[in-house]
Symmetry: C2
Subunit: 337 residues, 2 copies
C-alpha cells in the first residue's frame, strides 16, 4: 500500500499531532495510524476512554475516531468548547468505508479527510461547499509562523479590515506562508499592517499587529547506531515541517552525546539531558512512551528534551516524529523569560 | 423521479413527523421534503433557526438537516439530551451527495438514511455495523402499540429478562408488531410477561408489565369537493399507518359536515369543530399552517381537531398526512379522564 499525501498547506495544522482513537476495531485503527505515520504526521493510537479523549482534546491538533458517527457526536458534544478551541475531528467507520470530517471542516479536517480517504481507498464524505470560506485569522497566522502576538489589542481592527476585504500589508516576510487566506499582501502601502519581527519591538500603532517570531528548542532521541548525518537530516526534516530556518533554533537537546557533535557542527548550543531529568518531568500532553522506552524506564525522550531545554513556559509545537527509524525529533517553543 | 420506500418497520418511528431544516439551500431541502412526502411521511419544512430546531427537537420524531455536518454537530450538541429523548437526526449536504445518520442509528435513522439516499440517488453513509443490536424496549413496544404502561415499576425486571435473552410472553396480541427485536413471544408459558389489554386492569405481578391500549381521536380536514368515499379511505389510510383498527377510534372530528356522514357510516361518534375553537387552541407542536389555511384565518384543521376532540391530555401521535390532495388526517390519543 502506498500513501500519497500533499504536504503543503495542511501539515501546519497537525504539528501537535493526530490522536487516533478507536472504540473496538484496533485493526482498522492501526491501518489509519500507519497511513498517517507513513506520511510523517505525528500520530498516536489510543483506545477510547473519556480520559483519553479529554487529553487528546487539549493536547492534539486533530482526532480521528474509528467508530460509528453517532458515538463520535455524543463524544464531541461532551468536549466541544467552540470553533476556535476544538481540535479538528474526523470519523472513520470500523469498515474503513467512509472518512467523515465532523468538526473543523475549514480548519483542515476536509483536507485531512481527503488525504486519509485516498490512502485508505475510502469515500471522503465532504459536506461543506468546496470553496473554502473565511480568512486566516491573525492568531492562525501567528501560529503558522510560530510567533507571539505582541499587541493583542490591535487584532480586532486589523481583522475587521480583512473581513471588509481591505488589503493588510505583511512586513518582515519575503513571502506569505502557503495556504494563507484573506487579503494579506507582502508590501508597505497599507493602512493596516502585520509586522513580523524577531526583535523586541514596541508596537503602538493601533492599525498594526506585531508578531514576534519565537525561538525553538529541538529535542532529539537517537539510537546508538544513528550516524551524525542521519541525526542532522532528522533535525532539518523537523525544521522543514515547521518552515523554520536554523537561526530560529536556540538549543538542541538530547540524552545522547552523539547529538552534541551535530549541534556543534550546526553552531547551535547543546543541552545534555539526563534520565533523571526526564523522569521527574511532567506534562500531560507527552506522547505515551513506546514499549521499548518503558522497558528502559523512560517516559519519553525527544519531547521531554525539547520541553526541558525550552525552559519555563515552553510549549510543544511539533509532536515527536520518527526519521528513518533511527531518530525521533520534537520541537518546543522557548519559554519567555 | 420515483421514490420507493419500504413501509414496514420504519414508519412507526416517524408518526410525529419529520422536520426538514435547511440553512441556505431551500431548493435541495424541497427535494428532500418531496421525497419524504411522496411516500406518505408527514414532513414539514423549516428554515434553520435555534427556535425552529428547538421546537422540532421536541415535536418531531426525526430531523433531516440540509447543511454541512459540522454545523449539524454543533446544533446537536446544543439540544441533545440522551439516547432515549432525542429525535433521530440525519444530515444531507446541500449538493444532495450524501445522506448521513447522525443520531439514532439503531432507532431508525439508518433506515431513513437508506430510503432517502435511494430516493435522492445519494450515497448513504452508514457507519454502524449492519446488524442491528439491542432489543425493543418496553416503552418502544408500548409506543408502537399506542398503549400506556400501567405498572411502570415492573419494567426493570422484564427488561432485564429480555437483556439476559430469556423469553418474555406477550399476552393479548395475536401477533407481534413488525420490527420488534428481542425475545418477545406470543404465548402463555413464560416467567416474565407483557399483558396487552384494552380493559382497566389491576396489575400486581412484578414479573408482568401491563399495557393498556389507548383510544384515539381522528381529526379530518377536507376540501368541499372531497367525497365521503375519499374521506373514508383517508381515515383508514391513517389507521393503517398506525396499525390500528376502527374499534380503537373513539371520535372523528372535523370542521366539515361531510365528515359527519362518514363517521355515522363507520359507527364512530362525530365531534363538530368550530373555527373559533381551532383558533383559540394552542399547541407548539402543530404543523405550521399552509398558506391557504392562513388565508382562511385557520391555524390548522386536522391536528387541532384531533387534539380538541381527544380532550385534556390528548397527544398528537400522527402528524397530519395528505390523502389524494383532498383530505388531511391527523390522529391524537384520547386523554385520560
Amino acid at each position: 500500500m502506498s500513501y500519497q499525501f500533499e504536504h503543503v498547506v495542511v501539515k501546519m495544522w497537525w504539528r501537535r499531532g493526530i490522536a487516533v482513537i478507536y472504540a473496538t476495531n484496533e485493526e482498522s485503527a492501526k491501518k489509519v495510524l500507519e497511513a498517517l505515520k507513513e506520511n510523517g504526521y505525528p500520530a498516536v493510537l489510543f483506545k477510547y476512554s473519556l480520559e483519553n479523549v479529554e487529553r487528546a482534546w487539549s493536547c492534539y491538533d486533530a482526532i480521528v475516531f474509528i467508530m460509528a458517527l453517532g458515538g463520535v457526536v455524543r463524544t464531541v458534544c461532551r468536549f466541544a468548547q467552540g470553533k476556535d478551541k476544538d481540535p479538528s475531528v474526523v470519523t472513520v467507520d470500523d469498515g474503513l468505508k467512509f472518512v467523515i470530517p465532523v468538526l473543523g471542516s475549514h480548519w483542515g479536517s476536509n483536507k485531512l479527510t481527503e488525504e486519509l480517504a485516498k490512502a485508505l481507498n475510502s469515500t471522503p464524505v465532504i459536506t461543506t461547499a468546496s470553496e473554502q470560506s473565511g480568512i486566516t485569522s491573525i492568531e492562525e497566522l501567528a501560529n503558522t509562523l510560530i510567533a507571539k502576538v505582541i499587541n493583542v489589542n490591535a487584532i480586532v481592527k486589523v481583522t475587521s479590515a480583512l473581513l471588509r476585504g481591505e488589503n493588510v500589508c505583511v512586513k518582515g516576510l519575503k513571502e506569505l506562508p502557503k495556504g494563507v487566506r484573506g487579503n494579506y499582501v507582502i508590501g508597505e502601502e497599507c493602512k493596516y499592517n502585520v509586522v513580523v519581527t524577531d526583535k523586541e519591538v514596541e508596537c503602538r500603532d493601533e492599525n498594526t499587529v506585531c508578531l514576534k517570531l519565537l525561538k525553538v528548542a529541538v529535542g532529539v532521541g537517537a539510537k546508538k547506531e544513528a550516524s551524525p548525518t542521519v541525526i542532522k537530516e532528522a533535525v532539518f526534516h523537523a525544521l522543514d515541517i515547521l518552515s523554520l530556518t536554523l537561526d530560529r533554533v536556540s538549543v538542541i537537546a538530547s540524552l545522547r552525546d552523539s547529538v552534541e557533535s551535530v549541534s556543534k557542527e550546526l553552531g547551535v548550543p547543546f543541552r545534555k539531558i539526563t534520565p533523571e531529568e526526564i523522569n521527574s518531568f511532567n506534562d500531560e500532553c507527552l506522547t505515551p512512551p513506546s514499549e521499548k522506552l518503558s522497558e528502559l524506564g523512560l517516559k519519553g525522550v525527544a519531547e521531554v528534551s525539547a520541553l526541558i531545554s525550552g525552559g519555563n513556559g515552553a510549549k510543544l509545537i511539533l509532536r515527536k516524529i520518527q526519521y528513518k527509524r533511527e531518530v525521533t525529533v520534537a520541537v518546543a517553543t522557548v519559554g519567555e523569560q
